[in-house]
Symmetry: C2
Subunit: 344 residues, 2 copies
DNA sequence: TTGAAAGCGGTACCAT
DNA sequence: ATGGTACCGCTTTCAA
């Protein structure tokens, strides 16, 4: 970081205390109650227009901002929907999903907050979330057990929704069945006549919860056939891909499901550099249906993944919040379908 | 979404009230004060071992979780660092930056919260953030003016840090000078003998604050030379790229800076399909130094971007929080350097 | 139409 | 070593 010379400090260290509604009341010459009525447009109470004006002016003059904690403490509830911030590099799919969800929940007057719990896991994390008394908690991935759900509910969360590989007792569950992704890919390769199938498993941490089910899905698709499945650990580096490609002949595979499109590109490039013809010698298929796959030559076959729409999920949350007694819903929300292009 | 049959509701609608420290005290047969002392390990007070045990047991039995709002209300401050959640698809660079930052702030005992303000802008957003009384606010991008900074400070934020194109009055500013990125690219292309330079400007919303400065940077690099700069609006779609490529001859450009590596790949593919030779006919350079650029043929030249380290930024925040009176620091934090490969 | 006051859940001072 | 209690900022009866 390059320091840039700054003007000398012009604000003296006089950190005035933060203005409260009492300050506003004092300045406006009214009671705190009146301030509250005015600023919240309380319909049950009529306040005269002159008073309203004085209150508003006082508030503006002081730069008054209400204290959310005090408010929700008094109210006994908030409209905060909490989700843990993702701790792995997140693709455009998930990015967009989050955005959409935030927008949809915002429309329903919820506030979405992503809580950065890094290095904190499982029930410990659940406790930390519970301290904020969110009205709902949305947890992607595994990592939240029935214990955690229970902690959250006992601390007032009216809805706990998990988005993961399996349903969690007591919580609404959106099943994102990544096995289906692998199953799709496996079946496709099999149908195309491939029998010696490699499956790339990323070396990077945090991806296991996606990669393992995808691998399992391939295994399941090929179970009971004469096809073989070979696990191919691979770090996301050119070097690693080259090494893998170098022993390709000896691996004797005629197809590879590369975990996702990015790994597929990595593998495809390494194989091509090694003189392996795609798809003649080896078929390649990725997943996520990224733009980049369309741009590769040969065009990359892929498994298109459909995440739940943010709107649907927002509605599920809202329903759950309004009716916390209802039985947890379980939905399969991950649509997987092959997009066949030229690499397979 | 596919509905899966559920077991009948087994929890009756008896949502017990959330246990408070008073409940714990009652169950343990002690006062609320004692509960507080025990659960916080208050060192100024000795509590006998048997009492401690009873309190801990009672807390566990009730599933007691302290109420963060009440605590910070009483304490008069929290350790929450708030940042707005990004509302645009975020690349691996930024993803990693956030992760690192959360980790580093976590080590300093701060809690990072990404606040989902979608559809709320400028000072309105600042007010919403201020309601949470964060101890520090970190704002990427433009969109926060001196007004907003003032609102935040007056509501108790001890540090406001902006990460954007220009410094904001009253806030610590980390200057992410995307002009430098464009300047790098422009100079590089000029040095390689190119004179008719196109600059891709993404059509997607939310990217203007990056793309415009990058364009300006190219302009600045080429100002006063005989080189020309042509703005090339482009949506991130194959179609749009094809249309652009179709009129390439008539555009008569010998180089293009493609905003970033992803757009570069899009453009490169379209140009190659059109029979334009790279780099002979047209040089291409991207930005962000993604893995994918290394995998393209020809290998993609790019502008490597160095974001500030999460640790450094966390330390800046901590320093600012501990010493709120200090003059705002301003740092240039965006390192840009050309990685010359084969496409330019 | 407005004000006084109770209380939300903790913490910390001052007694005991 | 422990308990009583005031107080943080705000909302909401209830009374005037």
């Amino acid at each position: 970081m390059v320091q840039i010379p700054n003007p000398p400090p012009h604000s003296s260290p006089a950190p005035r205390p933060v203005p409260t509604s009492a300050d506003v009341a004092r300045l406006a010459g009214v009671s705190r109650a009146t301030v509250s009525y005015v600023l919240n447009n309380t319909s049950a109470v009529r306040i005269s227009e002159p008073t309203r004006r004085r209150v508003h002016e006082a508030a503006k003059e002081l730069g008054y901002v209400p204290h959310a904690a005090a408010r929700s403490l008094r109210a006994g509830h908030s409209r905060m929907v909490l989700m843990p911030a993702p701790d792995f590099p997140v693709g455009p799919l998930y990015s967009q999903f989050i955005s959409e969800l935030q927008w949809a929940l915002g429309r329903l007057d919820y506030t979405v907050v992503q809580y950065g719990s890094i290095g904190v896991y499982g029930d410990e994390a659940a406790r930390a979330w519970a301290e904020l008394r969110p009205v709902a908690v949305l947890v992607p991935g595994a990592g939240l057990g029935p214990q955690g759900v229970s902690v959250l509910k006992r601390s007032g969360a009216r809805a706990v929704v998990t988005l993961g590989p399996e349903c969690v007792d007591g919580a609404h569950s959106l099943l994102m069945d990544h096995e289906a992704v692998g199953h799709c890919a496996g079946s496709h390769l099999f149908d195309r006549g491939r029998r010696r199938i490699g499956v790339v498993v990323p070396g990077e941490a945090g991806l296991e919860s996606f990669s393992q089910p995808r691998l399992e899905g391939v295994r399941r698709a090929l179970h009971g056939t004469d096809a073989t499945v070979t696990e191919l650990p691979l770090a996301y580096e050119e070097e690693a891909a080259s090494r893998l490609a170098a022993r390709w002949r000896e691996l004797d595979l005629d197809a590879v499901f590369a975990y996702n499109d990015e790994y597929a590109m990595l593998v495809m490039r390494a194989l091509q550099d090694e003189g392996v013809r795609i798809p003649e010698d080896t078929a390649v298929i990725g997943a996520d249906d990224l733009m980049l796959g369309r741009l590769l030559r040969p065009r990359l076959s892929t498994v298109h993944i459909e995440l739940p729409s943010g709107r649907d999920l927002a509605e599920l949350v809202d329903r759950a919040v309004r009716n916390p007694g209802a039985a947890p819903e379980t939905h399969k929300v991950l649509g997987a379908s092959v997009v066949h292009r030229d690499s397979s």
